[in-house]
């Protein structure tokens, strides 16, 4: 039996459940010679903001026990340069391309969506209301259910296409399920979780933070149990699909998310360690499904004994 690995999100059908997370895969071409980018279930781009952003001061990254902190600061060439320089190569992709959208105000998000709507080669949008590394916007939206619902509703209304809207949630909140429900009420087609956890490392010899900005976002296997718990709680709070993210290096890690209730996953920090991670994870999910008698992705959540 060959399991059906496809996943439906809104009107979009992903060929398989394993995507690569925004900010860890550039625009795809960076990994071209190292793996089959077109075989991905989904490619989530680096965040696009209306204006170019140079990003934060350096150092921007530091390794932590089984993880890393980053403080990139949504560095990107801006909306117009994205359309001009990045979109043409993304259009040639045979995998679904989801553009990650960020901004400092509601109007920023709207501006990016309205500009991208008439452009070909985009399968959907991931709305980043959870970046911990910028002073305005980002996490400021993602921690307030009223703001999340209003932003989601405004963006959803502005869409002319049938492209799905995925809201990317932050774990840096008291109740992630409440934020997920707000996104669903606003009309989100799915939610992805989790973005990074706020963290800090201090160099005790120099008596200063290791990151120039002080704090950063923690990712990697260290946060996996947090991500799995979030996926578990969120998938029970909303009816829309959940995309699980956080510390996936192996198929077993992804299967934790899928059993917890996620319909698909994203590999993030794992790409840095091994560019072949997404392909290996997908292969392992397929094998597990065959061994455990799951014929479709929707079968997996119900197989959890909890």
């Amino acid at each position: 039996m060959n399991p059906d690995l496809s996943v439906r999100i809104g009107n979009l059908v992903l060929p398989n459940p394993v995507g690569v997370a925004s900010g860890t895969f550039g625009y795809g071409s960076e990994y071209e010679s190292l793996m089959d980018v077109d075989a991905l279930g989904a490619l989530y781009t680096k965040a696009v903001t209306p204006e170019p952003r140079p990003g934060n001061e350096v150092p921007r990254i530091v390794e932590t026990p089984s993880g890393m902190l980053n403080s990139i600061g949504l560095a990107n060439p801006g909306l117009e340069a994205f359309v001009r320089d990045k979109l043409p190569e993304l259009r040639r992709r045979r995998c679904p391309v989801l553009v990650n959208v960020a901004g400092a105000s509601e109007d920023d998000y709207l501006r990016v969506l309205e500009r991208l709507e008439p452009e070909d080669g985009i399968s959907g949008y991931e709305i980043n209301v959870s970046c911990p590394n910028v002073s305005h916007g980002g996490l400021a939206f993602g921690t307030d259910p009223a703001l999340v619902e209003r932003l989601t509703a405004r963006l959803k209304r502005s869409l002319r296409s049938a492209r799905p809207l995925i809201v990317k949630l932050s774990p840096n909140v008291t109740d992630i399920a409440e934020i997920a429900r707000a996104a669903e009420s606003g009309g989100a087609d799915a939610v992805s979780c989790i973005n990074t956890l706020v963290g800090m490392v201090i160099d005790v010899d120099r008596r200063r933070p290791r990151l120039a900005r002080g704090t950063g976002g923690l990712s990697g296997p260290a946060i996996r149990p947090v991500g799995v718990a979030c996926a578990f709680r969120v998938s029970r709070a909303v009816a829309i699909p959940v995309v699980g993210i956080g510390g996936i290096l192996e198929a077993r890690d992804a299967l934790e998310y899928l059993l917890a209730g996620a319909r698909a996953v994203q590999v993030g920090t794992g790409n840095f360690r091994d560019p072949g991670t997404a392909a290996r994870v997908l292969e392992g999910i397929r094998d597990w499904m065959v061994r455990n008698g799951a014929s479709r992705m929707e079968d997996i959540p119900g197989m959890l004994d909890a």
């Binding site: 550039g26 010679s33 990003g55 001061e57 350096v58 921007r60 390794e63 840095f272 560019p275």
Partner: protein
């Protein structure tokens, strides 16, 4: 660029602090160049998690061998120091830009500070081999260390200059002072303008920037920065340029026009 598992051929202590690993490097994996680098997966567990970048210190295409020099600084390099010949290493490369060739008629002055020596030792060999064909002078290699016990057991090209901060080996003084003497003195006059190549600590790189400016010399700098992906995707390894913008050490670099880097921000 490729990721592959390849046998370790040698893992040798060069001095108190430094080691050199040589691996099999198949011809179809791309050509390692001086200044370019590879990343190494150091553990099968999640800690350390990330790959570690190292500049190539040599490549022998005939024998199919590539080498890098590293310093034991933390758990990842400690693990690497314990890798035995015959075991396989997870490598990804070659990555990044290499050093440009010296201009015809110029004198290449190669300056390595501490663990920055690897790419300069590699460049010195290459530039020496190709000096006649390229029309540049035989290169001068200057290596600076804190103390004599750091000085690596390596076959250095003829005419190499060693210096230590405390004078315990070679000249007493900094590599920059020694490089400046090499650039200014003897046969090196206006007919053979110096071109600096360097890798080392930020204060040394900044001092060379000032020297290059005062001499009107070209300056090619290989930078060191923390890296996550190594392939240009994560933007973690940014370096600040003097014009206020950022560039990726792994993709635009690691070799930059040294006069364009904001060394104060490194």
């Amino acid at each position: 660029m490729r990721r592959f598992d390849t046998p370790v051929l040698e893992n040798r202590e060069l001095s108190r602090d430094y080691r050199r690993i040589e691996v099999e490097w198949p011809g179809d994996a791309g050509t390692p160049a001086p200044g370019a680098f590879l990343t190494v997966g150091v553990s099968g567990t999640t800690d350390p998690l990330l790959r570690r970048p190292f500049a190539f210190s040599g490549y022998d295409p005939r024998e199919g061998r590539a080498a890098f020099i590293f310093q034991i600084r933390g758990p990842a390099t400690r693990l690497l120091s314990e890798r035995r010949p015959g075991t396989v290493l997870d490598v990804l490369g070659p990555l990044g830009s290499g050093f440009p060739d010296p201009a015809p008629g110029s004198l290449p002055v190669l300056v390595g500070g501490g663990i920055g020596l690897g790419p300069l030792v590699f460049a010195a060999r290459e530039f020496r081999l190709r000096a006649a064909a390229g029309g540049w002078e035989a290169p001068v290699l200057v290596l600076g260390f804190r103390t004599a016990d750091q000085v690596p057991a390596l076959d250095l090209p003829e005419g190499s200059v060693l210096c230590t901060d405390d004078g315990s080996a070679g000249f007493r003084g900094t590599a920059v002072e020694a490089a400046e003497r090499a650039a200014a003195g003897g046969r090196y006059g206006p007919d053979a303008p110096p071109v600096f190549y360097a890798c080392g600590p930020a204060p040394m790189m900044a001092a060379l920037d000032r020297r290059a400016a005062s001499l009107g010399a070209s300056y090619w700098a290989a930078v060191e920065q923390w890296m996550a992906c190594g392939v240009g995707a994560c933007l973690g390894c940014a370096v600040r340029l003097k014009d206020g913008s950022f560039a990726r050490a792994c993709a635009e670099g690691p070799v930059f026009d040294g006069t364009s880097i904001d060394w104060g921000a490194m």
